[in-house]
Subunit: 651 residues, 2 copies
Amino acid sequence: MNVQEIDLHKLTVNDPFLGQYQQLVRDVVIPYQWDALNDRIPEADPSHAIENFRIAAGQKSGEFYGMVFQDSDVAKWLEAVAWSLCQKPDANLEKTADEVIALIAAAQCPDGYLNTWFTVKEPEKRWTNLAECHELYTAGHMIEAAVAWFQATGKRNLLEVACRLADHIDSVFGAEEDKLQGYDGHPEIELALMRLFEVTQETRYLRLVNYFVEQRGTQPHFYDTEFDKRGGTWHWPNHGTAWMVKDKPYSQAHLPLSEQPVAIGHAVRFVYLMTGVAHLARLNHDESKRQDCLRLWQNMAQRQMYITGGIGSQSRGEAFSSDYDLPNDTVYAESCASIGLMMFARRMLELEADSQYADVMERALYNTVLGGMALDGKHFFYVNPLEVHPRTLKFNHIYDHVQPVRQRWFGCACCPPNIARVLTSIGHYIYTQSENTLYINLYIGNRVEVPVQDSTLKLCISGDYPWHEQVKITIESPHPIHHTLALRLPDWCSEAHVTLNNQAVEQDIRKGYLHITHTWQEGDALVLTLPMPVRRVYGNPLVRHVAGKVAIQRGPLVYCLEQADNGEELHNLWLPNDSECRVIEGKGIFARKILIQADGVKQSVADADRESLWHYDVSPGSRQAHTLTFIPWFSWANRGEGEMRIWINEK
Amino acid sequence: MNVQEIDLHKLTVNDPFLGQYQQLVRDVVIPYQWDALNDRIPEADPSHAIENFRIAAGQKSGEFYGMVFQDSDVAKWLEAVAWSLCQKPDANLEKTADEVIALIAAAQCPDGYLNTWFTVKEPEKRWTNLAECHELYTAGHMIEAAVAWFQATGKRNLLEVACRLADHIDSVFGAEEDKLQGYDGHPEIELALMRLFEVTQETRYLRLVNYFVEQRGTQPHFYDTEFDKRGGTWHWPNHGTAWMVKDKPYSQAHLPLSEQPVAIGHAVRFVYLMTGVAHLARLNHDESKRQDCLRLWQNMAQRQMYITGGIGSQSRGEAFSSDYDLPNDTVYAESCASIGLMMFARRMLELEADSQYADVMERALYNTVLGGMALDGKHFFYVNPLEVHPRTLKFNHIYDHVQPVRQRWFGCACCPPNIARVLTSIGHYIYTQSENTLYINLYIGNRVEVPVQDSTLKLCISGDYPWHEQVKITIESPHPIHHTLALRLPDWCSEAHVTLNNQAVEQDIRKGYLHITHTWQEGDALVLTLPMPVRRVYGNPLVRHVAGKVAIQRGPLVYCLEQADNGEELHNLWLPNDSECRVIEGKGIFARKILIQADGVKQSVADADRESLWHYDVSPGSRQAHTLTFIPWFSWANRGEGEMRIWINEK
């Protein structure tokens, strides 16, 4: 498809729900993260990221501190600022960002190289350890920030830094003998250069992406070659081995992409890589890479994705495991992985408007991505379990990566700014704009203007998604415009219906989108009704972790039980299969949210019976009626520490 | 209680079931392990244990190879040989063992020190790293072997080595200023010196045990003191830190034992320690230590023990986790831990004849301990999961420690010889002999002579335990003897009954033992009937891993489903709560074993339905009748790789 990106200046989110999140990002998250980047949050792990740039720029003396990819936190923050300024100008914030950009430019080397770790610590070791050192990853985030800053402000200050950096990279990597025949251990440069190509139309960037993608996983293996060349050293001292070099599947580098059968390795790396590949496949009309995207998407979405839109079912390597291996309590499901999943889904939608991609995008957004941040905007989950039993966490080491409540910041702080940038750029995900059709993927309330031929189509989506079933799409363009609107019919909704000015519309459904071609006039109103009964969800029988269990979903939201409402021992709660689920209005922190109650059963036990571990013939518990209260899973752990579970026993 | 150990020369196991195991140990395991110790098993990890002694003795040159406690494999093998010779003399085997003992004696230092690792590699570093280096542990095994060899053969050759070693240890450790105020990171010396005291009556050994136990966990902490003294080095290079020094609970050294509330840390260390403490408490009439034993036993047995008699629910540290945290698939449950549990139970029974200890002993023996060895006697489990899904093991790192089938040998080969020595000395567990009463703990067929006052009580236990309900105890002493026999009434049996010469006996039941005081005459026959209906077992409601699930047990045997009988996807099998369980005779490798069948249900699914991971409102499987076939869990994984599970869904 020929698609055009939505101009975020022309889109205003006014959604009662996600609009609040955007406001939270503006009012709390961006200032908070600015403080964090400047080490002004006393209780949080230090960042030192701004200070690193000052040192690299020669404005200060001192030591580098932080991860080898610490710069990327600044880049992601800048990107969030850029998208936020599109929504709401803020001269002070823009000034701060411009100062940061000037600082970044000052830290850039004369040849275009930009990376404070290497510049400060080991300038002679640039580009000697791509497998481990994230130089292209960090560059990619800088490039993404630059594109966003240019798109948001029209300013070329960071874009010029980014182009110098990209040109430098292009001079270092490639098939030519005098170049490095390599690629980064952590994909990101690919998707970033695709974005840079979109704003610069510089085909060298496209060719470079293609080179990185096709070089990946070939033999002789670049990781081994550079490892030997640098004398067999490795970067991560605590790990005690060069495992990141040796474990090729970890970074999807064990085989050429075209030969990879399944989603594998570090989940964030996988979705970042595939985001770039899908973008490349579309712009290059590369059928082979499109097939790679389809194959690997299907494996991921049909066999390795949680009901929450989480991916990466194990802690070791923050990685995929294998088909249908989806444990609920030892899962990793990094927030960044679900953000990357949204990015991948967006690019797949641009390849082909098939609602399965938007369904996954929505699942990830409304569950894991929102769940990654506390309702206060100041606490974050890196890991997103579907079941937590806090008392056990500190004793059984299979749970070492799991936190029962969100943390203020992280030594590896990739997730918090990632959530900020995806929420501020959510407009890019709401629509897919092709020449003939405006696809509406997400029903987030907003007002948008999109160019259609020589005119501008203005429309407004309103409603109270995901809580209430009715979504209204009102045309606000003053002049009639003939165009197609394609409304996604969500997979969770079996009875969607649409009226145009109170008349039923023809059911022209293609790949999950209802197409309505019409000459749109000001005041035209489409009303999409998405009935939101409480639905019981069951796992594929191959997922052994949910056998005999049920999850509760309403609209796109997955629900869970928390100890705060249901007491301890959530594993002893049962939902009879004929029990009706009642929708109730939440209060307090759940105000304007919908909770669910149902008559359940609790297997409880007198203290005397608890003395024995194993009981013969008679189940040791007595069963009592117990009201089950479900809250939207994204909002769990906002009331302190307690048990939580999504999948509950069904009788 | 005043108890006297059964003389294994006076006890002959003729049990149809365990007798076969003893024969297997004699005919296969002992020769096989002798080959292993001499590195003659090509497919197995090398041992080098005998070679190490040759090098230490100066008979060969070469490098030490293996673990710092490699010597203990030889000691455990010698112990198994000793007990085996009690059952069946074997001049060649005895000669081989005597040669090994001569070799050991030659490797002993003039001052009594004995440890090939230190002698060969770092003689100057003796006794500088007790926290990590197992010197007293290894010594303990040598002492145990010496006691066994003395008891089995009457020869003092190894006993003298052991006494010199113990005397040397006594000269090194103690409260005196010129001694080390320390103890071993891995308990074992305590239980071994107790045994040595029993044969030598040397009270210094008893005092030394008391010192080790009371010094443990005191401040300033010995591990830290010796760590500082040796300049902060650590032994285990691959671990990258001195964690074994720092993690005090790992070796039950975080607090004095009297202040420890729960079973904690490395499970084998815990039960080895407590075996020694219970023995010490009895012989020293130490009420405080008896209370420690009771408290820690209760925590372990009532909150941290699997239905299989496995302990240690996590891989990291091969350790206990916390109360009621008993995952079935990521469990560790080391074979050695259940052997140690039998040893602890035996010493608790000697403190007080309470059948709860024998119940646990039996549970461990007939499930995890027997399960640790393949039916061929040549393959062993180190880790004993209650649920295995082989396809997932190699992809999800939470299963890195789990093997789907038994292995031939191990780099850390503690388990195989441990199984051999416990099976050959099983007579010590069958009876507890006090002045007034002969307690019968296990119904293993055997013929025994025990001294009673100035006479000898001879009796024979026969039957086909654990398969058939009837156990016969026949008196074979030629002269009448007035004595009490106390028959354990197993916890799994609710309807036990006993006749004496076909007459009902008085129900004098104390702490789970039926006491029968009688003047026993030749030909007197006690018939104990232990009805063995198939029983459904349920977990304490606090064990979240078995909520809604049931296990099948018959007699002391826990049963399981295997893929070989039941197909894949065992998690989709259900046992209705009204389904009758039928007992059937096994065939092939299950000949003379009893299997169980029941009408169950399988949730299956057409291929088309498998494409989606998550299904709304309708469970994606159709339910079909499916015959469930259960095998005794100890015999799983004798037919190649496949799924297995003990806990199954109950409807």
